[in-house]
Subunit: 575 residues, 2 copies
């Protein structure tokens, strides 16, 4: 412990020395310091430093070097010496040049921000740079999106999330030539602090979000330097996949997700993801729903044991929940009469498709009703409409930004939602030439086709398919009271793909036991679930929504990996 | 498939027959039907039904029965026959009695609600039963909380979540004697539909939440019958643990969580849990924070490999994330400059204490700053105050309901939050006679004691302890710029227990690499994390909050299992 503390103290001293030069240091200077620091720490760890191995003049095999090898070694030594002399000279020249530079205090690579100082300076966000601020001095922190030097001036585009503004660093009585050179040399994606005057422009700057103004740069500091070579270019990652110019494939994007996510369309996609959750909650809370949280580690594989991830739990085994459903239901039997939960859902399905993930965020709803599960279906339908309308009206900008890269038709929906019975759906498919039975589940292509047929007939991208055949639904699904082949269950679709699956659940322990047996489920494993209906249980229904699917389909992105920040599929658990 | 469908059709037919008598059936009648149903389905599965085994007169060993055994068997048969005759007679009597009953259509156990009908009836919530409705007919669905028969009348308390109302079922020209008897016989916790007139009472009903009115029952239907024996009594589970009368121990509560959760204090606790999340989001969204979702399945144990749950991931291995921190940080380097996330966090710690869980909900915040991590500390402090104030003002009723079972002092806090430096905390402990070093971490008892000392001195239950020794914090913690022994890190405390741990994080890949090496962390395993800082990374800080801890400490519940709906600890993964 004491040793650790001492070592920590030593190392920390090294860092502080390395990272905290007087006030502000030049880029070269910082890089040199970084090198010193690295050398110090590595010499701290290597048992045989370079010099010593040269002195002993032994080869890698431990034998003395031959004359030829000795000569080569000396040559290399000489070369290295010259190189470092050259570098030192260059640095000295740069220092000298800078010393003479009248603008020398107006630019540099800042030392690592380690929370050493508090000033009263105010920063302005890029999105707030409008003509109103014309003539005012501002301080802006943003990424250097692009820069282009033309001798005595440098045009910079600054980017902060979805907003961009032009900045000009031009030689003047404030800005020196070396300062312009410094600006030109800053690597793209570095984070910079720019001080300057906001100027109204005569001609709109089409390439920026802030089209009416530019910043006339007076000071320019690098807060965090990016490596010169980016694994992917923001411009390339922002182009439609169909574009002739370079674009980035999906795996490269995901391998370098933190850069990929910086594109304006991606910023907008995840703004819409957050908005979807927000609207989901807004609607449900206005209807008296109660937020709950359910455990993800469960003692038994709830739905028969297939497709669950196993977890080592101390000396035993446990599983990751495939859905919060059993817990939502238990919450209802515990009197929380309308609940929702947003949380991770795990599926160990080896499905490598455009719409399956092994881990995703479920938006789950469960609700008691008085007479008929359609009370619940109507509520969920209204909730979807609330989300669709909310996105359309409150997040139209974001939708537009996504469309620039991923073109899509506006999402259409009906109020109230269109509800078709399963057999009506099958009839439509049959009429379109598909051969299938009424008690057969919908295949993915048939779902897609049905979506198209419904769109043609009803002009809606969202609809509810009600009264699925009992035999294709899970054991806890309530059978239909009038037709024993059917069930009180439903799926909801966006652009022909399922986004919600739900049902009236059986709330009678005897019927539930029978259905579980029928499905071959080990009763011992679901005992606490069945028992939860023994002490008075209200009739109820609900459903689970895949968040990433809703976002993917609303924006028509065609790949669920585009609407999941860090997606997990059978082949990907990183980053 | 076809076979399955056929079997399903057959079974469903059985259910429908069993569960759907003409319109409404008596309790006895339903129970008989249920018995028939069970018998039918079990005979469907047994290859040798009872009767046949008697006819062949073979014993369980397959050999013919002895004379003695034969006699015994016949006696049993006779006994069973008489029993069923008696039952049939009883049922017939009940039917006959009911047939004569003028109120026979006003009460019964309803058939299973299978969404067969939609009527236009309106239900009224218990909480809305006030004197305003006096004289009006209402229909209420609620639990039968308690009932007490006194000959010609039955006093019922109806409960819906945190609200209770009295109902009286008394013999009159509408209510018959058999109907009162039926009311008296309904098991507690059953769900009932009550129709009747709202009557203003002369004397307030102290035992109910709705004190000014009662319902004069005219119709009474059982929607879902509870088993007669409850594993725990709601009244017992609602008493303070210190009460002389019976109360329920924590494990019995958790084993029967769905009943335990029905107590009014528990309804209030989870209302406050939901409110805490709501207030957390409200504050952060007002400050421009962006909600994100992070993966729980990760490829490598991020913080050295201890205390992580291992997951089998297809043919490989993965782990459950101990915190969303690395992903929150990656989101910041991907330009989402202020993020929060609410999600499950997993800790494979074998800690069996009042405040540790193996799975809990983390409220996580991460934020870029301009100059000093105190910008973040201040924001988080304000957020806590927003939660404390919000609970106090908007959820005062719930707090009061919890206090009836779990007495506590009002939660005190200062505006702005009190911030002490770590060494000041150590000084206070030293002054109180504790021997400890300035670079030593706080033990749990010392944390508790410090909480008390701070409360005495500053009259606050919430404070922030800033500038922890570097050696006791994780590798990604930013060292202090002025004092190498310290770090830019902080914990936040409620009633002397830690609820948040946070820090400025290192945003420079070289320094991060060095610190990881120093902590003995396999660099290969955190490569993508370190690399995420190579392309321009903003200075940032954040922290993670345990939701259940905040609720437990705000309400002073003394056990984290009371503020987690379905808690997980080393010994519990059910229900």
């Amino acid at each position: 412990m004491l040793l650790l503390a001492r070592r920590t103290r030593f190392l920390t001293k090294v860092f502080t020395t390395a990272f905290l030069p007087p006030k502000a240091i030049s880029k070269t200077c910082l890089h040199r310091q970084l090198r010193i620091f690295t050398a110090m720490s590595s010499s701290d760890q290597n048992s045989a430093p370079n010099d010593q191995s040269v002195v002993s003049q032994l080869g890698p095999d431990g034998k003395p070097l031959s004359k030829k090898a000795m000569k080569k070694l000396e040559k290399e030594k000489e070369k290295e010496k010259k190189k470092s002399e050259r570098e030192a000279q260059k640095a000295a020249e740069a220092e000298a040049q800078k010393a003479e530079d009248f603008a020398k205090d107006s630019y540099c690579v800042l030392p690592l921000i380690q929370s050493k100082e508090k000033t009263s300076r105010k920063w302005t966000k890029v999105q707030n740079l409008t003509a109103d601020l014309s003539g005012q001095k501002v301080l802006v922190r943003a990424r250097l999106h692009t820069s282009r030097g033309t001798g005595k001036q440098c045009f910079i585009t600054l980017r902060d999330r979805q907003y961009t503004v032009q900045a000009i660093c031009a030689v003047s009585n404030i800005v020196s030539k070396p300062m312009v050179k410094f600006a030109v040399g800053i690597n793209k994606e570095s984070i910079v602090d720019v001080e300057g005057e906001v100027k109204k422009v005569d001609q709109q700057i089409k390439s920026c979000s802030q089209q009416d103004v530019e910043i006339s740069v007076e000071k320019l500091f690098v807060v965090s330097l990016s490596e010169p070579r980016l694994p992917l270019q923001i411009e390339d990652a922002s182009r439609p996949d169909t574009d002739e110019l370079a674009h980035v494939n999906q795996d490269t994007r995901l391998d370098n997700r933190i850069i990929d996510l910086r594109t304006i369309p991606n910023q907008a996609i995840f703004s819409i993801e957050a908005a979807t959750c927000k609207l989901f909650r807004e609607y449900l809370e206005s209807k008296g729903f109660h937020e709950i949280h359910t455990p993800k580690i469960i003692s038994a594989a709830s739905e028969g044991g297939a497709n669950v991830f196993e977890v080592s739990y101390f000396k035993g085994k446990a599983y990751l929940a495939q859905s919060p459903q059993l817990y939502k239901q238990m919450a209802l039997t515990a009197d929380f009469d309308r609940v929702y939960t947003i949380g991770s859902v795990f599926r160990a399905e080896d499905s490598n498709t455009h719409r399956h993930l092994c881990e995703f965020i479920g938006l789950d709803v469960e609700m008691t009703f008085y007479e008929h599960y359609h009370e619940v279906v109507r509520t969920i339908g209204e909730m979807f409409n609330y989300i669709f309308k909310g996105l359309q009206t409150r997040f139209a900008d974001d939708i537009e930004k996504v469309r620039k890269q991923y073109p899509s038709e506006p999402f259409k929906f009906l109020e109230p939602s269109l509800i078709l019975e399963y057999h009506e759906g099958v009839d439509m498919l049959k009429a379109a030439g598909i051969e299938m039975d009424y008690d057969e589940d919908l295949s993915t292509p048939n779902e897609k086709l049905l979506g198209k047929l419904v769109k043609q007939k009803y002009d809606t991208d969202f609809f509810i398919l009600d009264k699925y055949p009992l035999c294709v639904r899970p054991f806890y699904t309530m059978p239909d009271a009038r037709n024993p082949v059917l069930s009180n269950s439903y799926d909801m679709f966006m652009r022909g793909e399922e986004v919600l699956s739900g049902a009236q659940r059986i709330h009678n322990p005897d019927l539930l036991t029978e259905r579980a047996k029928h499905h071959g489920i080990d009763l011992e494993q679901i005992k606490s679930y069945i028992d939860s209906f023994r002490y008075g249980a209200p009739p109820h229904a609900g459903g689970g929504i895949g968040l990433a699917r809703v976002v993917m389909l609303y924006l028509d992105l065609h790949n669920i990996r585009k609407s999941s920040m860090f997606p997990r599929d059978p082949k990907r658990v990183t980053p």
